[in-house]
């Protein structure tokens, strides 16, 4: 069992996301994360799906996705050299005693503080999944009030 990141280019039409998620639900594939957004071409959207499964399951996922008429292309980025990023916003408890410590962590991760409240800070961080997991771990001891992750987006390196 391994996590695979699939970059799926689809027609930018209403209902396409439902077709993709219905397929995952119906066939019992597990979605770890899913992001969808614009691409360089306004008639095409890009869905990035992280899915877990053995080789046979992933092969089925890809083949079944290809059968959707609105799916144009699928790249399994797991096998490619790719740049992967996630964005997280973390609202963390931060009274005066710990603020300095938190700022230090933010620096180490090259994250940013985007809002300062009386008792909390909101921190923004981008990076690959490992980095996001790590900053989340580091901030946990202070008390995470709220957290939102975007799910992964990715793109292949080089001219491919």
């Amino acid at each position: 069992m391994r996590k695979h990141t699939l970059s799926v280019t689809v027609e930018n039409k209403p209902g396409v996301l439902t077709r993709v998620t219905t397929l995952f639900r119906r066939r019992g594939y597990n979605i770890d994360s899913l992001t969808v957004g614009a691409s360089e071409n306004p008639s095409i959207s890009r869905i990035t799906i992280v899915v877990e499964g053995d080789e046979r399951v992933i092969e089925q996922v890809i083949k079944q996705l290809y059968k959707l008429v609105d799916v144009i292309k699928i790249i399994d980025l797991t096998a490619e050299r790719a740049v992967e990023r996630e964005l997280v916003l973390i609202k963390v408890k931060a009274d005066n005693n710990v603020r300095a410590e938190i700022v230090q962590i933010v620096d180490i991760f090259r994250a940013r503080i985007v809002d300062i409240g009386r008792e909390t800070l909101i921190i923004e961080c981008t990076g690959d999944t490992g980095k996001i997991d790590a900053i989340e771990e580091s901030l946990k001891p202070f008390g995470i009030v709220e957290l939102v992750r975007t799910g992964k987006i990715a793109i292949i390196r080089g001219s491919k």
Binding site: E11, T18, R19, R56, E59, L68, V69, I72
Partner: protein, 560 residues
């Protein structure tokens, strides 16, 4: 030229070569029905939208053309759902048009609004909600193209009322279809074809396992050539009945849960399994890890997702069965020698033929009815079935000689499929006898279509194998639930003869084995209306042989 959406629709249907549509009117499709009123497109009014969907499906299976049905929005559209799912599971090309409320009120729970594109998402090959009259022509073209190409399947086109009413300056759509995410499969990997040929040359105990894909690909001739050239025994799935002549020496009949012992044994012993247009359904493989345990597996299928889905494959070939078999056949010489393998199979055939006993109750044996139908029609008929024991006996005791002569709901197993499908088939092939082999339970699911068959003077013959039980379920209760026949007794039933007569059809009751043939002969003479024959068959006859659930294919009950 100024045309309304509905006029464009009908014009496009004719452009696709459609001659018959099956449907049922209602508010949202009034604009379409207004155009049909004086169109030369033949419209068959069924008595239930489910009937229209199955009839379109039967028409498609009998001809290979795309079946077409129409229903209104809301309940009309939802009544199609079982028919759409039935076609989807068996990969049948169909385009279903549904009415929809006006675009201005979609999403507001308008009267008779149902989200039919949402509902049918997982049971269609593709579906469309048409938002503009300008899109009608292109979408109809795409819908037919998608329905019939590659692995066929049903496509739903949802048509809001205002889109059908509006008039636009009509321009014929582009001839070329271009859909970025959908390409028609052509060609095959010739390296894999060579690998397949080499495997065939080396094999000592080869078996062909052929299915619905052979029929979809119109490749029965190519299949026969391969089998006869190399003397390879052929077993077919339920969906493949007719893909290879049942009376050919090399035929093993059906395999699987209710397949012949010799077909299943041959799979168990074979060293090369040539799987052609099949999807390794669990009714076929039984316990999947013991399926064809000694065999190298060649799998030819148009749908790459089918390859390796349930069973590991050694030689995968993605492509049209017809093209791939032509390529394989070209590379193979004929052999005329039969081998020990054939002797082994002959021995199994002798030792374990399909057989049945006498009725303890002195009633007709259902298998006997099927055998008589065969002896009278000799394979030159279209046999439709309902679901259950009737379906299995129809597969076992009739020898199908032609593709498209056996129409049955295999994947979904839809009771109520057979009779409306027979109506569609009879309309498509009026020159052939069309016979629905039914159970007393199934026939009651779409019995209202007698009205349709009488109205259009369709001499479809319904043979009810009346055991006054939901027989197949009763059989399982008998075998696996201690004989507790929970809610499977159907002895409260109408007088089917009177019921037929009430509709204006002919009704015949047969209680004695001696009268079976005469009744069938009488029915085959009728040419202007349907005939219902109510055969009172042995109540507790079971379908054998049988692979019990969870067992390996070669561990069969009965028929030994």
């Amino acid at each position: 030229m100024k045309l309304k959406g509905a006029e464009i629709l009908i014009r496009c249907l004719k452009g696709e070569g459609v001659d018959t549509v099956f449907g049922y009117p209602g508010g949202a499709v009034l604009p379409i029905y207004d155009v049909l009123y004086d169109s030369d497109l033949r419209h068959i009014l069924t008595r239930h939208e489910q009937g229209a969907a199955h009839a379109a499906d039967g028409y498609a299976r009998a001809t290979g053309k795309v079946g077409v049905c129409i229903a209104t929005s809301g309940p009309g559209a939802t009544n199609l759902v079982t028919g759409i799912a039935t076609a989807y599971m068996d990969s049948i090309p169909m385009v279903c048009f549904t009415g929809q409320v006006g675009t201005a009120v979609i999403g507001r729970d308008a009267f008779q609004e149902a989200d039919i594109t949402g509902i049918t998402l997982p049971i269609t090959k593709h579906n469309y909600l048409v938002e503009k009259t300008e899109d009608v022509a292109r979408i109809v073209k795409e819908a037919f193209y998608i329905a019939r190409s590659n692995r066929p399947g049903p496509v739903v086109v949802d048509l809001p009322k205002d889109v059908m009413e509006r008039e636009i300056d009509y321009q014929a759509p582009e001839e070329e279809i271009s859909i970025r995410g959908y390409r028609v499969m052509k060609g095959y990997n010739s390296g894999q074809v060579i690998a397949a040929v080499e495997s065939i040359l080396k094999a000592e105990r080869p078996v062909i396992y052929a299915g619905g894909g052979v029929i979809a690909s119109e490749a029965a001739e190519e299949l026969r050539e391969l089998a006869e050239k190399r003397k390879i025994p052929v077993t077919t799935t339920l969906m493949g009945m007719g893909a290879f002549p049942g009376n050919n020496y090399l035929s093993l009949g059906m395999l699987g849960m209710h397949g012949t012992r010799y077909a299943n044994y041959a799979i168990g012993e074979s060293d090369l399994l040539i799987a052609i247009g099949v999807r390794f359904d669990d009714r076929v493989t039984a316990k999947v890890d013991t399926f064809a345990p000694h065999a190298r597996v060649i799998h030819i299928d148009i749908d790459a997702a089918e390859i390796g889905k349930n069973v590991e494959v050694d030689v995968p070939i993605v492509g049209q069965v017809k093209e791939v078999l032509q390529a394989i056949n070209k590379r193979l010489d004929s052999v005329d020698k039969f081998t020990d393998w054939h002797k082994t199979i002959d021995r199994w055939k002798e030792e374990f033929p399909l057989r049945y006993g006498n009725s303890a109750e002195g009633r007709i044996m259902p298998q006997n009815v099927i055998e008589k139908i065969y002896s009278l029609t000799q394979g030159d008929a279209i046999i439709c079935t309902e679901v259950g024991q009737n379906q299995m006996w129809a597969a076992q005791y009739y020898q199908y000689k032609h593709p498209r002569s056996f129409l049955s709901s295999g994947g979904l197993g839809t009771m109520g499929y057979g009779f409306p499908a027979a109506i569609g088939a009879k309309i498509a092939r009026p020159e052939l006898p069309v016979i629905d082999i039914a159970g007393d339970g199934s026939i009651q699911m779409n019995i209202q279509e007698l009205g349709t068959a009488v109205q259009y003077k369709l001499p479809v013959i319904i043979c009810i194998l009346n055991n006054e039980y939901l027989g197949m379920v009763r059989q399982w209760q008998g075998l696996f639930y201690g004989g507790r026949y929970s809610f499977t007794d159907m002895s409260h039933q109408p007088d089917f003869v009177k019921l037929a007569e009430a509709y204006g059809a002919i009704g015949i009751r047969v209680k004695n084995e001696d009268d079976v043939e005469g009744a069938l002969q009488q029915a085959l003479q009728v040419n202007d209306r349907p005939v219902v024959i109510d055969f009172w068959v042995d109540r507790e006859a079971d379908v054998y042989p049988m692979v019990p659930p969870g067992s390996s294919l070669f561990n069969m009950l009965g028929g030994d």
